[in-house]
């Protein structure tokens, strides 16, 4: 089962932070946010572009509204958080009423979030957008939940409401498609990233 290289706390630290957050403790809330927000915001930026940051805030608000009802460990919290996030994405595209978001590739390359990756000097956000821009919304969901959120096939299946077997098929086709697209790709003036293609 892949695990994100993004920070994930051990059981005791997570339990303490969760208890503190439930009581409204600012330090505990900041700790939870620091652990889980990087993956969350990358997922949402990959699925909703510049509006991902706003959706991340909405996701956190929804999560904390129902925080008293959550019961689980850090990994379950991560899965729960991304379940909320994906619903936010669906609502976002439903509100937007558009099927395809076209963005200027050059402007994306100029935009940085201050986290240059050690891999080829690109940021995490650029890598995410590069990953999903050739994929269908469902493939993008699956790939990002596997890569950025570090969730298992079964956990992703529960979030996207498909069977684990279907998720394996989706991720397999997504990688084949990505590999085929990236083999001889040349940069164009404009790129399409999936909204709801």
């Amino acid at each position: 089962m892949p695990r994100s290289t993004l920070p994930e706390p051990d059981g005791a630290r997570f339990a303490a932070a969760l208890a503190g957050a439930r009581s409204g403790d600012h330090a505990a809330i900041s700790t939870l946010y620091g652990w889980f927000n990087p993956g969350l915001v990358r997922f949402l930026q990959g699925r909703a572009g510049d509006e991902g940051a706003d959706l991340a805030q909405e996701t956190w608000m929804s999560a904390f509204t129902g925080l008293a009802g959550f019961d689980g460990d850090a990994h379950q919290f991560r899965a729960w958080l991304f379940t909320i996030a994906r619903r936010r994405v669906v609502d976002h595209w439903r509100r937007a009423g558009r099927r395809l978001l076209t963005v200027d590739a050059s402007s994306q390359l100029e935009r940085t979030d201050g986290s240059p990756s050690a891999v080829e000097g690109i940021t995490a956000r650029e890598a995410v957008e590069e990953l999903v821009r050739h994929l269908s919304p469902e493939q993008a969901d699956v790939v990002l939940l596997r890569v950025v959120a570090g969730l298992s096939v079964e956990e992703v299946a529960a979030i996207v409401e498909r069977t684990p077997g279907a998720v394996r098929v989706i991720q397999h086709r997504a990688l084949r498609r990505l590999a085929a697209e990236l083999v001889g790709e040349t940069s164009g003036p404009s790129r399409a990233i999936p909204g709801d293609r």
Partner: protein, 238 residues
Amino acid sequence: MTEPLLTDELTEAVLSGTAEGPLPAGLDRVATLARAARAEPSVTETEILPSLLEALAGSVSPVEPARRSVSRVKRRVAVVAGAVVLTSSGMAAAATTDHLPRPVQRAVASVASHVGIDLPRPSSSSPAPARDGRPAPPSTRPVVPPTASTPAVTAPGRGRSGTTTESVPPTTQPGSGPGRPTTGPPATAPGHGSRPDEPGPPPVATQPHDGGGPPSSGPPSTYPGGGHGRGSRHRPQE
């Protein structure tokens, strides 16, 4: 376009960022992007805005939603169950005292007779004796209030029920408080047979805990246990 040979193991390795060695064309690029997407977080990703922090701290609900929803369901079930009990006990009491509409009374009596419960039939003018052959004692428990189909209470002095053969204490009208007695049929089963030919308005029973009026003198209560339909087999303790 070329499509690389992609096994399940290789798929997992690429997605988890653990793929090593030479990869098929294109897939190496995918693996590189996957590793970059999992890079260490930046400060902007981990630092929470003060306004969001305040909002999150203020949005934590102290009540557990799951328990709240369960209690809400329990409350609804209790309300429905209470309504069912009240309705059924009221129907049973009305059937016992022959206060249902005649067709309904006949049907209920017919059904009840199959399970060993004697209920007065609307056509019968004879009293319904208790199962032990003795007349049922006067009710010491209030019975149901009149239904919409029952006539209004007979006020004292109107004389309609004055022809009853037994002197019974007046019944208190529900909600009227003490001191507004009404008369009704005798409190014992034989009273059914002693009603005048022109039946007056049926008696009105007293609503439980209704203002401390005199004990109900209405129709015989055959439900000492509170009107659950099998009271005709019991007699109230005296």
